[in-house]
């Protein structure tokens, strides 16, 4: 058994973990260790070979591997230590139990940052009826098979879900010589970013079928067809209008779930909506020595956001480990009308600016976003359009934060739908 002691330990060497570790180091943590179960750093970015990363953070358009490599180099330069091929098993008070090829590893820490990312929802989550042939992949698995292992996953493809990975895979498959017959979305609006619809679907004339779903999958050894039906306002399929689309492959891009098994071992409170930890503006959970950031906290649409949020988590984890993070009274931060969730869910009393990240409940135009407390509206922001696919941010200035009364509520009101 091997033992380590450090100020801050970070679980996961993806974009969140790398940014958190660098920031912890910069903010005074002497020993920072990242635990990573794979043999390389970079997390999911290693397979996201498309461009579009870093426009906000670096001011240039990078691919996923390039974005990861910049952070890997920053982490090495900062003196962050890495344990690769090492899996975190359990958190027990201020000790993390891991295993690797050398056996059991114990890490005693001052603060821990959860940065494990997320997993894809699968066919089982959706309960799609039909047979169980080969040729059904989650979009991210197909992405790894193609972009890391160079396999071809299929020739005639249907994609369920208009999430970003699904649309990006539609383009990737088309460029690889496959025919993508349709992208099917149960909601009446796009799940992912508009830029991905334009550059991944429209550029290649791939049809997007909104308000449709898959009601059957046929095939014995391999997928032979899927049956697609429109849905009514209650998202129930209208079977009379169903059509059969022959295909050999079905990709599912139907959402992501934060991977919080380790978090549960520490008995940290989780949000029923984000499926991530409940945190305050320091990304601090209700176990004060545990922090969370990136997609394990809430699923993000831009890695640039993840980097910024994770830098906060790393900074405050370092401060906590040094005994410099004030423990003050917390008030609740809640989603109001038109808002699906807000992260953080709590605000510790402060005189500093507090950033609130949230998603709206439905798309709309001429949207007014507000933060209110029990006395009325504190912050207002107007946007030309908003969609649930894009995370929005409101900042509560420090001078208002210190005088808040009661709980904070974030609302979104659309003038037009």
């Amino acid at each position: 058994m091997k033992n380590y002691t450090c100020n801050v330990v970070v679980v996961g060497a993806g974009p969140a973990g790398l940014a958190a570790a660098i920031s912890a180091k910069k903010n005074g943590a002497e020993n920072v260790i990242i635990i990573e179960r794979e043999n390389r750093m970079g997390g999911i970015l290693k397979q996201c070979i498309h461009a579009g990363f870093g426009l906000q953070y670096f001011g240039e358009e990078l691919t996923g591997p390039e974005y990861a490599e910049k952070f890997m180099n920053l982490a090495k330069d900062a003196g962050v230590e890495f344990l690769l091929n090492t899996t975190a098993i359990e958190i027990k008070e201020k000790s993390l139990l891991c295993v690797n090829t050398e056996g059991v590893v114990h890490i005693e820490f001052g603060a821990l940052v959860l940065a494990m990312g997320c997993r894809e929802r699968t066919r089982a989550n959706l309960m799609i009826p039909g047979s169980r042939p080969a040729g059904i992949y989650t979009a991210g698995t197909a992405q790894k098979l193609i972009n890391v292992f160079g396999h071809k996953v299929g020739d005639e493809v249907v994609i369920l879900g208009s999430g970003d990975i699904g649309m990006i895979m539609a383009r990737r498959l088309t460029m690889g010589g496959a025919k993508v017959k349709a992208v099917i979305e149960i909601m009446p609006y796009l799940a992912g970013l508009v830029r991905n619809k334009l550059q991944c679907l429209d550029d290649f004339d791939i049809p997007l079928m909104l308000s449709h779903t898959i009601v059957d999958i046929t095939g014995v050894d391999r997928v032979e067809s899927v049956t697609v039906a429109p849905v009514d306002e209650k998202r129930q399929p209208i079977m009379e209008q169903a059509q059969v689309i022959p295909c050999d492959t079905l990709l599912l891009s139907v959402g992501l779930i934060p991977e919080n098994e380790l978090t549960r071992s520490a008995d940290v409170s989780l949000s029923g909506i984000t499926k991530g930890a409940v945190v305050n503006q320091y990304k601090q959970t209700d176990k004060p020595y545990i922090f969370a950031c990136g997609n394990v906290l809430h699923v993000n649409d831009l890695v640039d956001h993840v980097s910024h949020e994770s830098e906060d988590a790393g900074k405050f984890a370092a401060m906590y480990a040094a005994g410099k993070l004030p423990q003050t009274e917390e008030i609740s931060v809640e989603p109001g009308e038109g808002v699906r969730y807000v992260c953080p869910q709590k605000m510790a009393a402060t005189e500093e600016n507090v950033d609130l990240y949230f998603r709206t409940a439905a798309p709309g135009r001429n949207t007014t976003l507000t933060i209110s407390d029990d006395t009325g509206v504190l912050v207002t922001k107007k946007l030309v359009r908003t969609t649930p696919g894009t995370i929005e941010k409101l900042t509560l200035p420090g001078e208002l934060a210190k005088n808040t009364c009661g709980k904070l509520v974030v609302r979104a009101e659309h003038k037009e739908v």
Partner: protein, 118 residues
């Protein structure tokens, strides 16, 4: 001619209308900022895309190396580019940013590695 272009430069996603007979007399409306003018004109007269793909590589656990063009290339060349990289094969080591093909397909852009593999 009238074209509607959704701008992808920033998350505002302005719907920009371009009315034109030639590029010189194009009338642009609906843009929220100057960048929208350049973007919508490019989309109407010379659309470009950053090309990314992967190339076979040996000597490591990863079977393919991510590659990209250093600048956006004309949209109509994207499928030709995809075809061209399919026949390439490399061996480690490769540095991120290493040039794999200069003036790729006659464009001003180079094809470069997007990852360091040693």
């Amino acid at each position: 001619m009238k074209n509607t272009v959704t701008c992808t430069i920033c998350p505002n996603g302005c719907e920009i209308e371009v009315n034109y007979t030639t590029k010189e007399d194009a009338v642009i409306t609906g843009h929220g900022c100057k960048r929208g003018i350049t973007y919508s004109l490019d989309e109407c007269f010379a659309p470009k895309r950053t090309f990314t793909s992967s190339v076979k590589i040996s000597g490591t656990d990863r079977r393919v190396l991510p590659v990209r063009t250093t600048a956006p290339i004309p949209k109509e060349l994207v499928m030709d580019a995809a075809q061209a990289v399919r026949t390439m094969a490399l061996t480690v080591p490769v540095q991120c940013g290493q040039v794999l093909a200069e003036n790729f397909l006659g464009t001003d852009a180079n094809l470069v590695s997007a990852m360091t593999l040693e």
